[in-house]
């Protein structure tokens, strides 16, 4: 068996280890990149409220009876026409009813639970002037609903108005607002929020009701991001093939160069089996050392990035964030095991053939 000290003393071993470390780090980054892109698309595109909001062209009671037991359904409510809240002090706002889990991250305050609680954006423009609404936190405010009814609300939280610009209301209390208005606010249909866009097709197949996405404007986006992910996956697979082929070629070159050493070992009395095991052992140790150092190097790189490099690219920032829950190491381990098996079979047959030549 190959002595660890002997491996460490040889310069050619260190060249091999260094190349393996670099290639393992590439594999780590490539797999992590794939996981991050998939997660970014899930969170920013599929997981959007509008892509999980379904309208069913049936009465509420019938839908509730049929669907309430299904585990993919988050909430069922009566469909309504548009709702708007106005106030001359803070301006005009649409209402965006969301479930608590879907609400944006708050700058201050807590999420609304009761019927008279709302979230406001931190910023609005009133008569061309910037108005910060943070000072309204915790206060009561009178708003006019659809220019018909005046209601008092408590502002329980303020969110960053970068992407959304409306009053956020707890969807579970939407009936409270609709019941304040005349009955024609209800369309007679039912709306359902599911837990993931991909369960929409499943719901269509399993349920004998006419349904569609309430807002289909997200479908184009989904199609574009589906095709983007496939393209990214293809390019990453090409990179992985490249990395693996380099790994295998270099290993076989290094192994070929041990021809003289193998012949000497055979003349010294080692059998074919022992020579093969010797070299398999050598490569196992090289791979293990390289893998451990590559993981440590990745951890070090994440620390260096965190302390010295700051960018706006969220995907890049996530790539250099150490997250124990990521499963990206699993495919790498599977690949390393597969390469090892290929290499070892190669070593075994190469030794057998070369010994026969003597």
């Amino acid at each position: 068996m190959y002595n660890l000290k002997r491996i460490i003393r040889q310069k050619s071993s260190w060249i091999l280890i260094t190349i393996f470390i670099v290639l393992f780090i590439i594999l780590i980054f490539l797999f992590k990149y794939l996981f991050i892109v998939e997660n970014t698309i899930e969170v920013n595109i599929y997981d959007k409220h509008k892509n999980r909001d379904i309208i069913i062209y049936e009465d509420y009671n019938k839908v509730k009876q049929e669907l309430s037991a299904k585990e993919d359904i988050l909430y069922i409510f009566k469909d309504y026409e548009s709702l708007e809240l106005n106030n001359s002090e803070i301006g005009n706002f649409n209402i965006t009813p969301l479930l608590n889990a879907e609400m944006p991250t708050l700058i201050k305050g807590t999420y609304p639970k009761k019927e008279n609680e709302i979230l406001l954006p931190n910023l609005n423009f009133i008569n061309g002037k910037k108005a910060y609404l943070t000072s309204y936190l915790g206060k009561n405010i009178t708003l006019t609903l659809n220019n018909e009814k005046t209601l008092t609300f408590t502002i329980t939280g303020i969110y960053d108005s970068q992407n959304i610009h409306s009053i956020i209301y707890n969807l579970e209390n939407i009936n409270y607002l609709c019941e304040k208005l005349p009955s024609y606010i209800y369309t007679g249909y039912t709306r359902v929020i599911i837990n993931h866009y991909k369960n929409y097709e499943k719901l269509k197949e399993n349920v004998d009701l006419e349904l569609s996405l309430y807002d289909r404007s997200g479908l184009d986006e989904i199609e574009i991001y589906n095709s983007l992910f496939k393209l990214v996956l293809l390019i990453v697979i090409i990179m992985i093939i490249f990395t693996l082929s380099i790994l295998i070629i270099i290993s076989s070159i290094m192994f070929n160069n041990s021809k003289e050493q193998r012949f000497i070992e055979f003349t010294e009395g080692y059998s074919e089996k022992n020579i093969s095991i010797n070299y398999i052992d050598y490569y196992i140790k090289i791979m293990v050392i390289s893998f451990i150092i590559s993981i440590l190097s990745y951890i070090l790189l994440t620390k260096i990035y965190k302390y010295f490099i700051v960018t706006d690219n969220l995907v890049l920032n996530t790539l250099f964030t150490l997250n124990i829950n990521n499963l990206f190491l699993l495919p790498i381990i599977i690949i390393i095991l597969t390469i090892s098996v290929i290499l070892y079979i190669y070593i075994y047959f190469k030794v057998k053939l070369s010994i026969k030549k003597i």
Partner: protein, 393 residues
């Protein structure tokens, strides 16, 4: 004197199998990194130019602006704005009586008419500027029917025979049906965009004229079209500071895509530099292997000058074969990728793979530098060493 020496070095080089493998490995490393860099860059460009910059994503609306005239003046004075218009034409689809019962299903296919300004790219990659006359550009892949928000793929109408001809459009209104003749001047490649299967584009002024005749709606909103989608944030921020909140006509969140593709380009450059590192390691490993031969030459009386000339010749030969194999590999890998990828990913044929000559020349330059530099460094380092100690190590 030089030629016989060169022939000896060449002969020695060609006899050693390891040299071929090293050249192949150098070529493989650089070819793959060139192709990966080209793919990543081409993908980024495809999404930025063809998908995100499509006219639908560059049109924004401001609902019921307080000071309409003021807003229109401001928009007209911005360099980033291609045009400002009062109506987008997004009323309802129009019927095409010409294709009535086309699929023997007693239905009349529909088409949306949308307004735009400026150039639109058509299928032969040239651009058409739609005039204020009744002319339009329609999709190459026209699928008139939709089911659950998705087009029905097996019901396609080929509009190619109608290029240069007038097509009748009928407004769907039982009480007041009206027909207009609009000339089809070209087809845009909607396969690239993955959508827009039933939308034709015409100059917004021409569209506003026919919309007024059909349904004279009061002017409430203001629409504007950007020259480039990259200016979206700048224009939106400026308008928000004035108290206006523009909304895109077709919402598309570009940021996750652009960030992911940017990173892919950076990773590909990273692979390029890692290829350099791997190639350096391989060449250095080869030098380690040849160290004994080099020291034996010294015992035969080779001077530093002789070894230097041999080293230069070896580097040149290594570079030449690496360069040759790089070109062959590039052509082979490029053709394989072009033929195989579209089988699994049909949209890939819309992407033009641009092999950047800069990256290619960079790769060749680095191969040349590496081949020479490493050999020379090794020569200089080994020249001073004790022969006895080094041979017996």
């Amino acid at each position: 004197m030089i030629m016989p020496k060169f022939k000896i070095v060449l002969h020695k080089f060609l006899r050693n199998k390891l040299n071929y493998i090293i050249c192949l490995l150098i070529a493989l490393c650089f070819s793959f990194s060139i192709i990966i860099n080209s793919l990543s860059y081409s993908a980024r460009k495809y999404y930025e130019d063809d998908i995100f910059n499509f006219v639908s994503y560059r049109v924004f609306s401001i609902v019921n602006p307080i000071n309409r005239k003021d807003l229109i003046n401001t928009l007209n004075n911005m360099n980033e704005i291609e045009g400002v218009f009062d109506s987008y034409g997004y009323m309802s689809p129009w019927e095409l009586p010409e294709f009535n019962n086309y699929f023997k299903d007693n239905k009349t296919p529909n088409m949306w008419l949308l307004g735009m300004i400026g150039d639109i790219k058509i299928i032969d990659n040239s651009k058409i500027n739609l005039s204020e006359e009744m002319e339009m550009v329609c999709p190459n892949n026209y699928l008139p029917y939709e089911k659950d928000g998705k087009p029905v793929a097996d019901k396609k109408i080929d509009l190619t025979p109608y290029i240069g001809k007038y097509i009748n459009f009928r407004y769907i209104d039982e009480n007041n049906p009206q027909e207009f003749k609009i000339k089809l001047v070209g087809l845009y490649d909607n396969d690239k965009i993955n959508k827009n299967y039933n939308m034709c584009y015409m100059n917004y002024k021409a569209l506003e004229k026919i919309n007024k005749e059909v349904l004279n709606l009061p002017k409430t909103n203001v629409y504007y079209q950007l020259k480039n989608i990259a200016d979206e944030e700048k224009v939106t921020t400026k308008l928000q500071e004035m108290g206006y909140y523009p909304d895109p006509i077709v919402f598309l969140n570009r940021m996750p895509a652009l960030e992911s593709l940017d990173l892919l380009v950076y990773i590909s450059y990273g692979i390029f530099f890692i290829s350099l590192f791997i190639v350096s390691c391989i060449i250095y490993y080869n030098i380690l292997k040849n160290k004994k031969n080099f020291l034996i030459n010294r015992t035969y009386g080779y001077s530093f000058k002789n070894n230097l000339i041999n080293s230069i010749f070896e580097s040149l030969i290594l570079f030449f074969f690496s360069f040759l194999f790089t070109i062959i590999f590039n052509l082979v890998i490029y053709n394989i990728i072009k033929r195989i990828i579209p089988i699994y990913y049909p949209s890939f044929k819309n992407i033009t793979i641009i092999i950047s000559p800069v990256v290619f020349l960079q790769a060749l330059l680095f191969i040349l530098i590496l081949c020479f530099l490493l050999n020379l460094i090794s020569l200089i380092l080994n020249h001073q060493k004790s022969i006895y100690n080094n041979i017996n190590m």
